[in-house]
Amino acid sequence: MTNSLRISFLFLSLTILIVTTGCSSDDTVSPDNGTSTTANTNNTDAAGPVTEGAATESVEYKFGDLVPEFTPPTLEEIEAIEAWTDKPVVDVYQLMEQRKENEVAMMTAAEVLAIRNNTPEDNDKIVSAMGTLAVDGDVDYSAEWNRHTAGDIKSTNPLMSSSTAEFDVSGLLNMSLFTFDWNFTPYGNSAAITSWKTSSDGLMDLITVRDDLTWSDGTPLTAFDVEFSYKVILTSAIPIPAVRSGTDQLKGVKAYNENTLVIFHNEPLATNIWNMLFPIIPKHKYESTIADDPTLATSPEHVELDENPVTAGAYTIEKRVRGQEIIVKRRDSYFMHNGEQVRRKPHFETVRFKIIENPNTALLAMKKGDLEEMMLTPEQWQSQTNDDDFYKFNTKSYALEWVYYYFGWNFRSPYFKDKRVRQAMSYAFNHQELLEKHRFGMDEASTGIFHRTSPWAPPEAPAAYQQDLDKAEDLLADAGWEDTDGDGILDNFVDLDVDFDGISEGRQRMPFEFTILTSNRPDRIAICELLQENLDQIGIRCNVKPVEFTALQDTMLEHKFHAVFAGWGTGADPDTSENLWTTKAIDNGRNYGCYSNPEIDKLFEQGKRELDIEKRRKVYQQIHLTLWEDQPYTWLYFRNAYYAFNKELRGYNYSPRGPYNYGPGESTIFKPAAMQ
């Protein structure tokens, strides 16, 4: 059914998310500024490393000017090829049903709604019982779901999405040809295509689009729409904030007829599939108007289309009140075609996104029953959701999410070039207090870029650092850091690099005093203060500087910092980390700390090209271990996904990206008919 919903195009190949300020209730800042768990690497509107966004004003409009020069073969030539490998085209909802058949819920939903979530055992019960899928006839199809979003959307056009809220909403409005499950295994989406084949050389993907797809205005959705959307994305004059990256890795997209679509690649890479997940917009609506208004946002036609978009997905926009709410309504033409049901019927008649920026206000709305879903902050989980008020309408659960937080050390800073210094930092920090006190003993220590349950993590996870001030001091002394002038602060000869451009301005004896940046939130500042205190104990002055998010983002992209406290979420594919660690990502990615290691560069190239899953795994395990040894970050913890749900809601399941951002994700959520 709605497995195509939000999964649609969220997951471009470079899907690493930045959690420096994170999203929704996890943060007090509006997600428009931040990117989120759903966001793509370039998702910050202010500071995407690929600066297509704002910089395109002056570019002359030429449709599809970024599409590589390439003459696709004719349909006859393609049909002549015999060696095609069939790729799976599945209904991920069905996959979830199969998985659920093997899992027996420990208790029924009614039973767990009577208990409170106080222990991990309680949580297991609640997660398993509330994850039970709908049985036929059990769903109240006329239900409305009130969802929380921490920020308004700027546009309903899926190509323009860049914030969490936008990805959330346009996810419901759009259709994707591909999807992936909770293990991040990619599939063809059976709601949209009937077959998916890859040529034996891996350079072509032949896709048969279903013939019963329609846009919400009744026009059929065809392969030509896909080709058109591809060309729109690759038009430099159109300010596409996020979804261009990845899509620009394709060699070409060609629709041969309504149903036959071929996507061409430059190289047979394991990551090709992730580049094909771009959103689709209606050709018949945009074709004639796009030349007059390449911004897609100013001409009367485009404004009208943004207000009332023609959508491919299960829902259409019903109403939008700026700054307050966005209401989307199920459309019958999505699952009915010529009087027959051809796709799963979405469980909710309407979904209402209520925009509430302040997490405390949102929680109060939750307690009143006005909101039926929200992400909780750990503080809210710990101390504000244990009362009768909360449990009257709601229950809560949590699950591991692959979002790790770290202290990032800048290699251009005079202090952190030396591996021993970075290791000393990791030894100096009181990890135990962080986990037990600051993270309430609920989060797990992070021991590198992949979580231990990830297929890409080494079988033997490295042991987490424990505070050892003596060892830290020894390592610093090894690296030459000693208090020679007797002022109580360590000092050493270092290469000065005042402007952080990687070019040394000479050597000088400097005291070990630096500033760590963090976003402006009390819990994050408190963690930095713990580092400050620990470093102060061994004679290092660390200043904590809270910065507003966009400023933080800019500073990091310019590499003008010594250290930063921030977090990353996970992309669907391990290759997304390339954007954080390779040398080329210093200038064109999010390698803020300027980490550069030829071995890592080589491994990422290798991982991309390795098609054998076992061998590919080895490559990423090696990357994990090498990075851990180098400690370009002091890895701190994985943040759990904490969610509150109304008691009427059922069928939510968590993936390592939370309850929504995977297939089938939110499409399994329903309200039972019996509740009426």
Partner: protein, 361 residues
């Protein structure tokens, strides 16, 4: 000066300021407020002796040290403790590394910058981290493990300092600029008045937010300077008005006639006579500066961490309304301080205004 009336020729008439003080002293509320501010100043000066984890005085390996001075400036902590690997934990290390040592400790063994951990002081338990209600060990509760009382005691220093320094800067600029404008008049006055209007248009909060983002290592001093440089306009205008009035008076003419230069006349003769009306906005300015600092800290842009400003404690309490002690206690402190300054200002206004003077005086 020459404004006081004399009712009895045989008794020496009190001077203007003495007179003002006599009248001020009769206002009970204002006197209370003055006492409150003096107490706060005392707390601010003695903060490391009231709450801290570093000894006020200690004898270590035959020498006397004052480690508590580190709360004023981290450089004032003797490096010997760093060299001997004290790691900023004094009670046990002192005894361990020199059994002969002795120390005088602050009244409250709590640190404004960090939580006190288990067994730091004898076998005393550490501060509770979450939901640390007021208790015998943490009289005002804890905020992320840090003792709220200790933070507030040390926060007094910031609050008062912000008030005095920023208003001091503002007063210095305001009086000089206002005096020049008022005394010289003419085109100088026109230009300065336009500059004053220009500066009044700058919203200081926005300016502070912008500067904090730009400065690599922002300190509380930066904020005081910005506050001072943007809030002098009111005082400048008042001074200018006073100077415009007084420069026409006989004593100025007299001074000029015996050849006094303009600056001598301005600052020796006119200024002391025009100070009274300017004093009032200065006192109110202190209250306003404290309020702005608390507001900025509440927004998270005030004193950089880990400086325990009152507003910072409020900010921590804001995300968790169940921990009421993080809001109530600093809230009361801010309220009392600002009220006290405002009462002093009001008393001063009444005491220095001859029209309000009791004719019996």
């Amino acid at each position: 000066m020459n404004q006081t009336n004399t009712t009895n020729e045989s008794k020496k008439s009190p001077g203007f300021w003495r007179h003002a003080w006599l009248r001020f002293r009769r206002k009970k509320l204002s006197m209370c407020a003055l006492i409150v501010v003096l107490c706060l100043s005392l707390i601010a000066v003695c903060s490391p002796m009231i709450a801290g984890t570093k000894p006020i005085v200690c004898k270590y390996k035959g020498n006397l040290y004052f480690p508590c001075m580190a709360y004023f400036n981290p450089d004032w902590e003797n490096p010997i403790f760093q060299k001997d690997r004290f790691r900023k934990r004094y009670p046990k290390n002192l005894k361990e590394k020199d059994p002969e040592s002795w120390a005088i400790w602050p009244l409250i063994f709590q640190d404004p910058y960090r939580p006190v951990r288990d067994n730091e002081w004898g076998d005393r338990p550490g501060n509770p981290f979450n939901g640390g209600k007021p208790s015998s060990l943490n009289l005002f509760g804890t905020s992320k493990g840090k003792d709220v009382l200790a933070m507030m005691v040390h926060g007094t220093r910031i609050a008062l300092l912000v008030g005095f320094v920023s208003t001091g800067i503002a007063a210095a600029i305001g009086i000089v600029v206002g005096a020049i404008a008022g005394y010289f008049g003419g085109w100088i006055d026109i230009i300065i008045s336009r500059i004053i209007e220009l500066v009044m248009c700058i919203p200081s909060i926005v300016l502070i937010l912008a500067l904090i983002a730009v400065i690599e290592k922002p300190t509380i001093w930066h904020m005081m300077a910005i506050l001072g440089f943007t809030s002098w306009t009111g005082m400048a205008r008042l001074t200018r008005a006073e100077f415009l009035k007084l420069k026409e008076s006989e004593f100025v003419a007299a001074a000029r006639s015996i050849g006094a230069g303009p600056f001598r006349i301005m600052f020796r003769h006119i200024l002391p006579n025009s100070l009274a009306p300017v004093m009032v906005p200065i006192v109110f300015g202190i209250a306003a500066a404290i309020k702005v600092e608390a507001g900025l800290s509440l927004l998270g842009f005030g004193a950089p961490p880990p400086n325990p400003s009152w507003g910072t404690i409020l900010n921590a309490g804001m995300t968790n309304y169940t921990e009421w002690w993080q809001i109530v206690f600093p809230g009361i402190a801010i309220f009392i301080t600002i009220l006290a300054y405002n009462l002093i200002g009001e008393g001063l206004q009444e005491a220095t205004d001859p029209r309000l003077a009791d004719p019996k005086d």
